[in-house]
């Protein structure tokens, strides 16, 4: 069971959160073309290693958090607010 250290609420169980996928994908601006929006939705990273991903604290503060987690060991390196920039260690 993952334990995610919410910057607002403290360390909480996975059960309070919902997963939101790759947090590196950026939504293109309104004028973005088909290729850009295709990438935003479908061209996701799938690293075997460190992964920057969205977790939504639904049964908590309802904030979308940027989590850096290792996809093999599940180690969580950092949990940041949605607007923070985070660094991802090399895989």
């Amino acid at each position: 069971m993952l334990r995610i250290d919410c910057p607002w609420c403290g360390t909480r169980d996975e059960a309070e959160f919902k997963y939101g996928g790759d947090a590196t994908a950026k939504r293109p601006p309104a004028e973005g073309d088909g290729a850009a929006f295709y990438e935003f939705v479908y061209d996701r990273g799938n690293p075997k290693g460190w992964h920057q991903e969205w977790w939504h604290h639904v049964a908590g503060c309802r904030q979308w958090l940027k989590v850096v987690r290792h996809t093999v060991t599940h180690e969580i390196r950092s949990v940041a607010k949605a607007t923070d920039d985070v660094t991802v260690p090399p895989a």
């Binding site: 607002w8 609420c9 403290g10 909480r12 169980d13 059960a15 309070e16 639904v58 049964a59 908590g60 503060c61 309802r62 904030q63």
Partner: protein
């Protein structure tokens, strides 16, 4: 307009009385008759919101994981720039009206959408631990703490009031009855008493 009688969200089965195992100190359950207003401050408007609430209720707005308690009233931190202000039930909608709100401070009446159940007694913590994934040990969760979590799939705010321990549980009204079902099952081994709403 004076508040007409309203139905309790805990349903007709929540009749006052002693249930579960006899003997020992029972867990006491009391529905609190309160008004509840959700306050959400816009960018850079936290201070303004704090003043608004202070003027209207005398309560300060607490920071993350904290509750400000003054007598029967309290202000609960629920999310960044978001609080619940709770006080004994008065005129319908009066608290929300008094707080008013503005373009950068949203005030939303939740007096019927949320409800508060007070849980107190020596075993209250053990009962909650059957569902609460949050550590309620005094070392990490002293009086004045609040945690929003999920118990039996229901989102619950747990407010720690004192060392008895006593808790105020803030629940979504549509789930109040279901939550009480769970609570009664979990408290049965210690025995529990449902008190008249107050």
């Amino acid at each position: 307009m004076s508040a007409p009688d309203r139905l309790s969200p805990f349903g007709p089965e929540a009749k006052p009385g002693r249930h579960g195992a006899a003997g020992g100190t029972p867990v006491l359950m009391t529905e609190r008759k309160v008004d509840i207003v959700q306050v959400m401050a816009g960018r850079d408007a936290n201070a303004k919101a704090a003043n608004l609430v202070k003027d209207a209720t005398g309560l300060a707005l607490p920071g993350p994981r904290k509750v400000e308690i003054a007598g029967d009233a309290m202000a609960i931190w629920i999310q960044p720039s978001g609080w619940l202000v709770i006080r004994p039930r008065g005129e319908e909608g009066a608290l929300a009206k008094k707080l008013g709100g503005s373009d950068d401070i949203a005030v939303v009446d939740q007096g019927h959408g949320r409800c508060v159940l007070r849980l107190t007694g020596a075993h209250a913590g053990e009962v909650l631990a059957k569902g609460s994934r949050v550590d309620l040990h005094p070392r990490v969760f002293p009086p004045g703490s609040v945690a929003t979590t999920s118990i039996d799939h229901i989102t619950v705010m747990i407010v720690k009031l004192d060392a008895v321990p006593s808790f105020d549980l803030v629940l979504p009204s549509n789930f109040a009855e279901a939550f009480l079902d769970w609570l009664r099952m979990s408290a049965a081994e210690f025995g529990y008493e449902i008190r008249p709403a107050a």
